[in-house]
């Protein structure tokens, strides 16, 4: 695989040696994927694995030019990792990572129009990590139920204790039950 040519073709793409992967800005993700799929030297026709990673805000240390270590706050982000393989040339993996801006309203372009294999996997990431894939033909929850509200694979996810809610005569449960009863008195949803 010609890494130099790849890097020259897309100057925005950055090699990350620690994870042996390319960090791709989301603006050019589809161009990069299309290049990998069609270029005769790469021919990465199979997108094998698509998955999300959650990175919370953290303090990182960097060494300045004067050799002093400075600590600064790194904002949190969500990241989607793509593993490409070439079936015809039997090579790979080529790993791309695409990061969102922040964790509040994470939006990334959907790669499903190019690779059908991402269809269910992007839905799974949307379901469990809450990344919205713009351009996905059918973006719905896939593993959790449709009424579920949070994103369970996020690192700061807190499990609610009323999945299978049943009123039992205890103080905290009664308070919660009252809240639930107010919600239940709202007109029921009739989803098609």
């Amino acid at each position: 695989m010609n890494a130099e040519r790849f890097a020259a073709q897309f100057p925005g793409v950055q090699w990350d040696a620690a994870t042996s992967s390319w960090i791709v800005p989301h603006e050019i993700l589809l161009d990069v994927a299309n290049f990998l799929k069609t270029d005769p030297e790469f021919r990465m026709e199979m997108l094998s694995n698509v998955t999300g990673v959650d990175r919370l805000p953290a303090k990182v240390k960097t060494k300045g030019e004067d050799g002093k270590e400075t600590e600064h706050e790194r904002p949190g982000y969500l990241e989607v990792v793509y593993h490409f393989y070439s079936v015809s040339r039997k090579q790979g993996p080529l790993v791309l990572r695409c990061r969102t801006e922040g964790r509040e309203t994470p939006i990334l372009p959907s790669i499903t129009p190019l690779f059908r294999s991402a269809e269910f996997q992007e839905r799974e990431i949307f379901d469990l990590f809450g990344i919205v894939f713009s351009g996905h033909p059918d973006l719905r929850r896939i593993l959790m139920w449709d009424e579920f509200e949070d994103f369970p694979m996020r690192k700061d996810y807190v499990e609610p204790d009323d999945y299978e809610w049943e009123p039992t005569p205890h103080d905290a449960v009664l308070v919660k039950a009252r809240r639930r009863q107010v919600a239940d008195s709202a007109p029921p949803r009739h989803d098609a």
């Binding site: 994870t19 026709e45 199979m46 094998s48 079936v87 993996p93 269910f120 469990l128």
Partner: protein, 396 residues
């Protein structure tokens, strides 16, 4: 297409909750389309899986798979326990093939930690892995025939052979299905000469069973007419949709990870990779029969080449307080159902920072709708059966 009000006279809701079907369409199409909810308790869904099928007469015009009935967020659970702690839990992914699940996870962790595997342990892994392939493929053949209406007999013939292999698994690991047999850097228990003899006997007798099974069903007229030309999966779509394993090879794509990645010691064995021509259900069935014959050949070679004595666990393998250095790895094997991969990120702690299973059962279902469109509703069962999924893995 939007759902319309029910026709006058029909009850708006049945006694037992919302109706499971409704009539679609505007005036011109009134009554033409019927939406049927197949599953989740349909016996042919091999677990709890639902298909939302829209029918025009008997022909499928839309099919949406519905997942999640068996979801327990395996990945989140694994991120909360030690690296080795989720090894027994991988058994529960694809509960027919716990050995290969263990292997894929162990392979990914070994890649992450830079851990080697002793030679004898590699041979043991190949032997139990190929036995698992036999179990999976013969079960699939039996279940597929049961889906076709051959209730009982072929499945029981298949299960009779499976029992013999499960007896071996029980003897070496203590459990028939949930084996929890592999460890990072090797396997948990050695194979005694008696067990090896038992395996050799199974391997010797298996081809005769396959011949018998094939004589019984492979040329059966009903099987041919129900399977040939049904559920065709084109080659390009199969690659683009990430379909792997026997499904991909039945569409004529030569991609077997045992040959491509040569993980473990698969470069030491000679075997052929069967390929389909038409990509229909019959090709998928025959391909599995042919793969079993190749697995037998691999097993014979492995039993002959296996060193008499040797370590089964790498000396540097740590069972307790195992902390791989920070980094990430993607390890994959050719599981019986397709490419089973584990993507792991370590932050140097006792638990994985990110633990991801690439489930072949789940991703192979991406093309279910494409294969079923335009087919009869009865064929949906057959096509679905030929995909070979286990919901424990699809839903995780």
């Amino acid at each position: 297409m939007t759902p319309d009000a029910p026709p006058s006279g029909a009850p708006a809701e049945s006694l037992y909750g919302p109706r499971s079907y409704r009539v679609w369409g505007d005036d011109a199409l009134a009554g033409q389309f019927l939406e049927v909810s197949m599953g989740p308790h349909h016996p042919s869904t091999h677990g709890v899986f639902r298909m939302d099928v829209v029918l025009d007469g008997e022909t499928v015009v839309r099919l949406k798979p519905v997942f999640g009935y068996l979801h327990r967020n395996h990945e989140k659970l694994a991120e909360g326990m030690s690296w080795l702690g989720s090894m027994p839990y991988t058994d529960r992914l694809d509960y027919l093939c716990s050995m290969t699940n263990n292997w894929a996870y162990a392979l990914a962790v070994e890649k992450l930690a830079g851990l080697g595997v002793p030679e004898r342990a590699e041979y043991i892994r190949v032997i139990v892995g190929e036995l698992t392939r036999l179990v999976n493929h013969i079960c699939l053949a039996g279940f597929l025939l049961a889906d076709l209406g051959a209730l009982g007999t072929p499945l029981l013939y298949a299960f009779r052979e499976r029992e013999k292999i499960l007896d071996v698994f029980e003897e070496i690991s203590g459990a028939r299905m949930m084996c929890n047999y592999m460890r990072f850097g090797g396997v948990r228990a050695d194979l005694s000469p008696e067990v090896l003899q038992k395996i050799a006997r199974i391997v010797d007798r298996f081809p005769a069973f396959l011949d018998e099974f094939e004589r019984l069903v492979s040329g059966n007229e009903i099987l041919l007419s129900r399977c040939q030309g049904v559920g065709v999966l084109p080659r390009d779509l199969a690659v683009n949709a990430g379909v792997t394993g026997p499904m991909l090879r039945a569409s004529g794509v030569d991609y077997d990870l045992r040959k491509v990645d040569r993980y473990g010691i698969y470069d030491r064995f000679e075997f052929r990779v069967p390929l389909g021509e038409h990509g229909d259900v019959y090709d998928r069935y025959m391909l599995r029969i042919l793969e079993m014959r190749e697995s037998i050949s691999i097993l014979r070679q492995a039993l002959a080449q296996m060193p008499e004595k040797g370590e089964i666990l790498h000396p540097q393998a740590k069972l307790r307080n195992f902390r791989p250095k920070p980094g990430e790895a993607y390890g994959r094997i050719e599981g019986p159902k397709g490419e089973l991969g584990f993507y792991l990120i370590s932050d140097g702690g006792v638990c994985p920072y990110r633990y991801r299973v690439r489930p072949p059962s789940f991703i192979n279902l991406t093309v279910l709708e494409d294969m079923c469109l335009g087919q009869k509703v009865a064929d949906v069962i057959v096509i679905f059966g030929s995909v070979d999924i286990v919901l424990g893995e699809a839903d995780r």
